[in-house]
């Protein structure tokens, strides 16, 4: 006789009671775990709906995309025709149409170089990097400026738009990094004069706003050179930007230098290496690797601040858009113009910052103390 209460079959396995499982569980755990959190969630959703839906309607759903004059716009949403109608000038500025293939060539080369350097799998980084730092600027200079090899000369006052923004950013980046490294080394030098000079140089540039540096470059630099020397306006701005950012770069590099244990330098000394050998082969490769995220962050700041050249009258991306807004055929599209400018800058800066985070994870070799 079997007791009726005895279980003779195996009971099916039950899932553990996990509150986080499933959509509802996730919601409960992440959004409504306490009454306060629930209230916060509801308020946030309401605010988001109030902001995002009209924004989406304005920017996409009711926007006008096609056309070539302001009549194409209904006025209900954004008028992106304003951007598409002057897209060429936003990219090339006033660069003569017949010579724009040169700009395109430089763009393509730049894209290939950056892709090559950024994708870790591709080989020969060192040589490509060397070419990007030395060969490419020279090549780009001859292509963009012209005046030799049978190319028509294009004065820099015709440069503008995205092309000018990228030119300033890249010259700034390529120029400020080496100067910054030298300054950082100088600041750690044993020689009091060298150290003093570097400290004063770095602290001066870090203490003043870039605007005043650009003012200085545009009104004071011409006074510093002999009267007969013609000093290109773009070149003046570039000199100012390079010095300014090299000081910030120097501080980033110095952080890396300080993180390298002094035993590395001492061991290299014991091997009989000279100063430049020790720095170039032992200390700097380790230090620079450590501060790549910091360097990229400085690049991002530099890239954002290229927009300041509009104040001294250069026509970068932002200035071209602003100039377009004063065109009497296109009055009243300030929102579209600045939103577009913001979007372009944002895409560049956001991808750079994502790349820096990726590199940080990649290089995190447990070196830091």
């Amino acid at each position: 006789m079997v007791d009726p209460n005895t279980v003779t079959e195996m009971v099916a396995e039950r899932r553990p009671p996990d509150l986080r499982r499933g959509v509802l569980g996730w919601l409960r755990f992440n959004l409504f775990n306490t009454p306060l959190n629930g209230a916060v969630t509801l308020v946030t959703v309401a605010l988001l709906a109030m902001v995002l839906w009209p924004a989406l309607q304005w920017a996409v759903l009711q926007a006008d995309w096609i056309g070539d004059s302001r009549e194409a716009c209904s006025g209900e949403g954004a008028c992106w025709v304003f951007i598409s109608a002057r897209f060429e000038s936003i990219i090339y500025g006033f660069y003569p149409e017949s010579a724009r293939w040169r700009v395109n060539l430089v763009f393509v080369l730049l894209a290939i170089l950056i892709a090559w350097l950024v994708i870790p799998r591709l080989p020969a980084k060192r040589w490509v990097g060397l070419f990007a730092l030395v060969g490419f600027p020279v090549l780009a200079f001859f292509l963009l400026v012209g005046g030799s090899f049978g190319l028509e000369h294009v004065p820099t006052r015709n440069w503008g738009g995205v092309m000018l923004t990228l030119t300033i950013a890249i010259v700034g980046i390529v120029g400020s990094l080496p100067i910054g490294v030298v300054l950082a080394l100088g600041r750690r030098s044993q020689m009091p004069l060298v150290r003093g000079f570097c400290v004063v140089f770095i602290e001066f540039w870090r203490g003043v706003p870039l605007i005043t540096v650009l003012f200085m470059a545009s009104v004071m630099l011409p006074l510093f050179v002999p009267t007969q020397v013609e000093f290109d306006k773009l070149l003046r701005a570039l000199v100012g930007i390079m010095f300014f950012w090299s000081a910030y770069m120097a501080e980033v590099v110095r952080g890396g230098l300080q993180a390298i244990p002094s035993g590395q330098d001492e061991a290299a000394k014991a091997m009989g290496m000279g100063y430049w050998q020790r720095m170039g082969l032992i200390v700097l490769p380790q230090a620079l690797k450590l501060v790549i995220p910091g360097i990229v962050n400085t690049f991002i700041a530099l890239f954002k601040d290229t927009s300041l050249v509009l104040i001294i009258g250069l026509f970068d991306l932002l200035a071209i858009i602003r100039a377009g807004l004063t065109d009497s055929d296109w009055l009243g599209f300030a929102t579209e113009g600045y939103v577009f400018a913001a979007l372009v800058f944002w895409v560049f800066c956001f991808s750079m910052s994502r790349y820096s985070q990726y590199i940080e994870r990649l290089l995190h070799t447990g070196h830091r103390n």
Binding site: G207, V208, P209, T212, F224, P226, Y338, V339
Partner: protein
């Protein structure tokens, strides 16, 4: 081998002392030559342009007006006065920006650590959006796309018919102190001193007896109550000048320039995105064990936050926060792009164009920012030395 003790001295250029001297000598010579060249070129250029050097121009009549002045100023004032007016405007927008950027930054930074998924993501989106858009774009956006799209004074948006918002700015009621108002600020000063003394007394009492005082409540009572009581006792000697539409513009009240609002908004929102990151990393830098240990001692939640987490997080936050505040002050110079009359706009802009004294003016402008920077950095070093982790 040991016998050859009379080591030969290598050639002179291998001697480190000599080489150091040589390098520094060359640096000094190059620097000297550079300075001499620049000075002689500048002198020649200035002479060719007929500009006299020196700061004499500061006493000349400026002859232009400035839309926002915190001190008395007119077209007849001197360039020295222009300098002061510009400097005060810079300091005004910087101070406003620092306060709001810090508040927004702390709120967003704490929100990023919220257990509420949506709030944390929203705060994250805020940081990623605003710190990756150039400040200048944001300033121009607020000024041209938002504030210039506001209605004309006749169709102003109004708040309780007291505050008016239109394309020319925000018109606020203006408090006019009458006789006897002076007592209230004095009462506030007394309250501040008394609160400071109260905090010290409470600390000492707690150290001696272990019994805390409700410092926060008492302090708040003192700081608000004493000035308010004085104000009421003296018979509320304050008159509000309420703005009213007369013709095409408002009479009475005080108008806040749209340039100031645009710059203030952009500076606060942009800098807040950086401060939020600093606050988040500062709070995360406090080891989890600290909180767990405090919980094990059965300290209540707010006390853990106030006495364990925040003091340790602040050590990480404050130095970076200060450098963001300095950045904000320097960034306020972008005012010149929308015509807010800050130091750079009125002095390096208008005054420079009128006088042509490029060197003196740019040097003075840079000097101001350098001085602010150096003073704040020096204070920061003092703070760092005081809050340095004391390890034995």
């Amino acid at each position: 081998m040991l016998g050859s003790s009379s080591r030969e001295r290598g050639p002179l250029w291998r001697d480190p002392t000599f080489r150091a001297l040589l390098v520094q000598g060359i640096l000094l010579l190059a620097l000297g030559a550079f300075i001499v060249m620049v000075v002689s070129n500048t002198m020649a250029n200035l002479e060719a342009r007929g500009i006299t050097t020196g700061f004499g121009f500061l006493q000349d009549r400026a002859g232009f007006s400035i839309p926002q002045t915190l001190i008395a100023y007119s077209g007849d004032s001197t360039y020295a006065r222009t300098f002061v007016v510009g400097l005060l405007n810079t300091l005004l927008v910087s101070a406003m920006g620092i306060v709001t950027a810090t508040l927004i930054g702390f709120a967003v930074g704490i929100a990023r650590l919220s257990p509420n998924w949506l709030l944390a993501r929203l705060a994250n989106a805020y940081v990623e959006i605003f710190r990756n858009i150039p400040l200048l774009v944001q300033i121009l956006f607020w000024y041209f796309a938002v504030l210039q799209a506001l209605p004309s004074p006749r169709d102003s948006h109004s708040l309780f018919e007291v505050i008016f918002v239109n394309v020319r700015g925000v018109v606020l009621p203006d408090p006019q102190p009458l006789d006897g108002f002076a007592a209230t600020p004095w009462a506030l000063l007394v309250a501040v001193i008394a609160t400071w003394w109260l905090v010290r007394f409470a600390k000492r009492r707690q150290a001696a007896t272990g019994r805390p005082l409700p410092v926060f409540t008492l302090g708040a009572l003192l700081l608000i109550g004493l000035p308010l009581a004085t104000f009421l006792v003296t018979g509320m000697p304050l008159e509000w000048s309420i703005p009213a539409l007369k013709g095409f513009n408002f009479q009475g009240g005080v108008t806040v320039l749209p340039e100031l609002i645009a710059l203030w908004l952009a500076l606060s929102i942009y800098t807040a995105s950086f401060i939020a990151e600093i606050v988040r990393s500062g709070i995360q830098s406090v080891p989890q064990g600290q909180v767990e240990a405090a919980k094990a001692l059965s300290l209540p939640g707010p006390i853990i936050l106030r006495k364990v987490v925040i003091p340790q997080a602040m050590r990480v936050i404050v130095p970076q926060l200060t450098s963001q505040h300095l950045n904000l002050i320097k960034n306020s110079s972008l005012a010149t792009a929308i015509g807010y009359p800050d130091l750079v706009a009125v002095f390096s802009g208008t005054a420079l164009n009128q006088t042509g004294q490029a060197i003196e003016i740019v040097a003075m402008t840079m000097g101001v920012y350098l001085l602010i920077n150096l003073v704040v950095s020096a204070l920061m070093n003092l703070y760092n030395a005081r809050t340095l982790l004391k390890e034995r």
